[in-house]
């Protein structure tokens, strides 16, 4: 494994400009008041490391992970993931980096789990036969073999999270970006999914991962290192056993 960092974040900043309201437009402004979501964030992640980004709601975690996934362009600074500039938006970048969208809306509701995966496998460029095999393997791996031919709308929250993980693994990525992967799951389901992600999906395959969460249990269970983000700034970093002390709990 190379010594070069798998993720380099250098002076990253993001400012959102909301659309102008009537009052702004009357004053000749095209945009509303700017909102700073990230300010001068810098850190690196080693290959094979699991870094957890913690912070309260609105801290900038989702903005950060979306920039790292190439889905959002930074306003300043740069982010390099798996050796490629995240802002470049190349196909090769998206092959190496998987952004696991836990958003329930990101699948077609009326199509089966298997059908959804087949569609995304085609977007990964897999030929039909290979796509079928890979989807079958991944569905079995995330524990959805028996539910593969049920419509997505019939899936429980945990099953939907598992399907999102299976989708993230279609291209066999080097880096996984997980935004609150166990959000809304019951405690046992969340514990099992964390162990599965950590032991099989990330460590077992030698991958690097960033996990965004505001749950100390999740960070302790998964991370090698925890980065604390608040109001868009990186406040500190610590080992998982220092989480409570850092958060003042």
């Amino acid at each position: 494994m190379s010594d070069a960092p798998a993720i380099v974040v250098d002076g990253l900043g993001k400012v959102f400009h909301s659309p102008a309201g009537l009052r702004d437009m009357l004053r000749g402004r095209l945009y509303g008041k700017p909102v700073t979501a990230l300010h001068d964030v810098s850190f690196t992640v080693r290959p094979g490391e699991i870094a957890c980004v913690m912070g309260p709601n609105g801290a900038g975690k989702s903005t950060l992970v979306r920039i790292l996934g190439g889905l959002l362009l930074p306003s300043s600074g740069r982010a390099e993931v798996a050796g490629i500039d995240a802002g470049a938006g190349t196909s090769e970048f998206r092959r190496r980096v998987a952004f696991v969208v836990g958003d329930e809306r990101s699948f077609h509701y009326r199509v089966t789990g298997r059908g959804n995966l087949h569609y995304f496998a085609a977007l990964h460029g897999l030929p039909a036969g290979l796509a079928r095999r890979r989807a079958g393997e991944l569905l079995a791996r995330v524990g959805l073999r028996d539910a593969a031919d049920r419509r997505y709308q019939e899936y429980s929250r945990g099953m939907r999270q598992r399907l999102a993980i299976a989708r993230g693994l279609l291209g066999d990525p080097q880096v996984l970006l997980l935004d609150e992967p166990t959000l809304g799951l019951d405690p046992k389901g969340a514990r099992d999914l964390r162990a599965f992600l950590r032991d099989e999906i990330i460590r077992g395959a030698g991958r690097t991962a960033i996990v965004c969460s505001n749950d100390p249990t999740e960070a302790r269970a998964m991370a090698d290192r925890v980065l604390f983000l608040d109001v868009g700034r990186l406040q500190s970093e610590a080992s998982p056993d220092r989480i409570e002390a850092e958060l003042g709990l």
């Binding site: 889905l71 959002l72 087949h118 460029g125 039909a128």
Partner: protein, 279 residues
């Protein structure tokens, strides 16, 4: 080596096949909507029969070019409008739905380039529109007595790709505008209304005053309908239709690159303001 190895389809075709499979799988859940859509289109064409009986009975000098065939005239006007609607609306609709449903972000996070992610729906819908048009022409011929005996199929073959290219250019512009202004497709609304008024959908453009006819010539549908009617009703060859063919070639040549450029800009803006995942 004895066993023949089947080469995989090109990437875009794989995406297209997967998209069509997913759509067909989803259609199972939208059976009623699908039947209502078919039924509505059938009723609309049926109503044209009675309109044509009402209008076509009179000897009308404006229809002389089309051998007085008002049924053919208006059915083609209707199908041409349907094609334009598909071209101008599908991509914008697809993006809007994907933003609302939340699938767009997950799709553009895959290695497939954006044009491949978003290119399947228009191709699929154009094929469906072509099949629908063929079905209605055959239905109108068999059931309503539509006269297609003079049709020049070679002209039709030359015209259709140009019509699709011009409407697709408009579609890219419409999709880009929808992404930028985050409102219901303003381009489709303006182009749709103007075209219905000025392109000769229900009546020949010869009934319009000269200055309105001049504006109408700036709309791709005007030339598309002239081509379709010239090919199907008059039996004109590609040489006789060269003015309209050239006009559509210019539209396609201008609209496609401008639309693609504007769409790339809109996509970058969406990546900048974070609107890939919401509408």
């Amino acid at each position: 080596m004895s066993a023949a190895v089947r080469a995989p389809l090109p990437w875009f075709l794989r995406v297209l096949v997967a998209f069509v499979r997913r759509e067909l799988a989803a259609v199972g859940g939208y059976r009623v909507a699908f039947v209502i859509r078919l039924f509505g289109f059938g009723l609309a064409v049926g109503s044209l029969l009675f309109l044509s009986r009402f209008v076509g009975a009179a000897v009308n000098p404006h229809l002389a070019l089309y051998r007085g065939n008002y049924l053919g005239f208006v059915v083609i006007g209707f199908l041409g409008t349907d094609f334009q609607q598909v071209g101008v609306s599908v991509l914008a609709q697809r993006i809007r739905m994907a933003q609302v449903m939340g699938t767009l972000e997950a799709e553009v996070a895959t290695p497939a380039p954006p044009w491949m992610v978003l290119g399947s729906p228009p191709v699929y819908e154009f094929v469906i529109a072509a099949l629908r048009s063929a079905a209605y022409l055959i239905g109108a011929k068999l059931l309503l007595g539509l006269d297609l005996s003079h049709a020049n199929w070679l002209s039709l073959l030359v015209a259709v790709p140009l019509i699709i290219a011009a409407f697709s250019g408009l579609g890219l512009l419409a999709a880009a505008t929808t992404m930028l202004v985050r409102r219901l497709n303003p381009v489709a609304m303006v182009i749709g209304s103007l075209s219905f008024f000025l392109s000769g959908v229900m009546y020949p453009v010869t009934v319009l005053p000269g200055w309105l006819r001049a504006i109408g010539r700036l709309l791709p549908l005007t030339h598309a309908l002239a081509l379709l009617r010239g090919a199907l009703l008059v039996g004109a060859g590609p040489g006789e239709l060269r003015t309209s063919l050239l006009a559509l070639l210019v539209f396609a040549g201008l609209l496609a690159p401008v639309g693609a450029g504007m769409f790339a800009f809109a996509l970058r803006r969406a990546r900048s303001d974070g609107s890939l995942s919401h509408y």
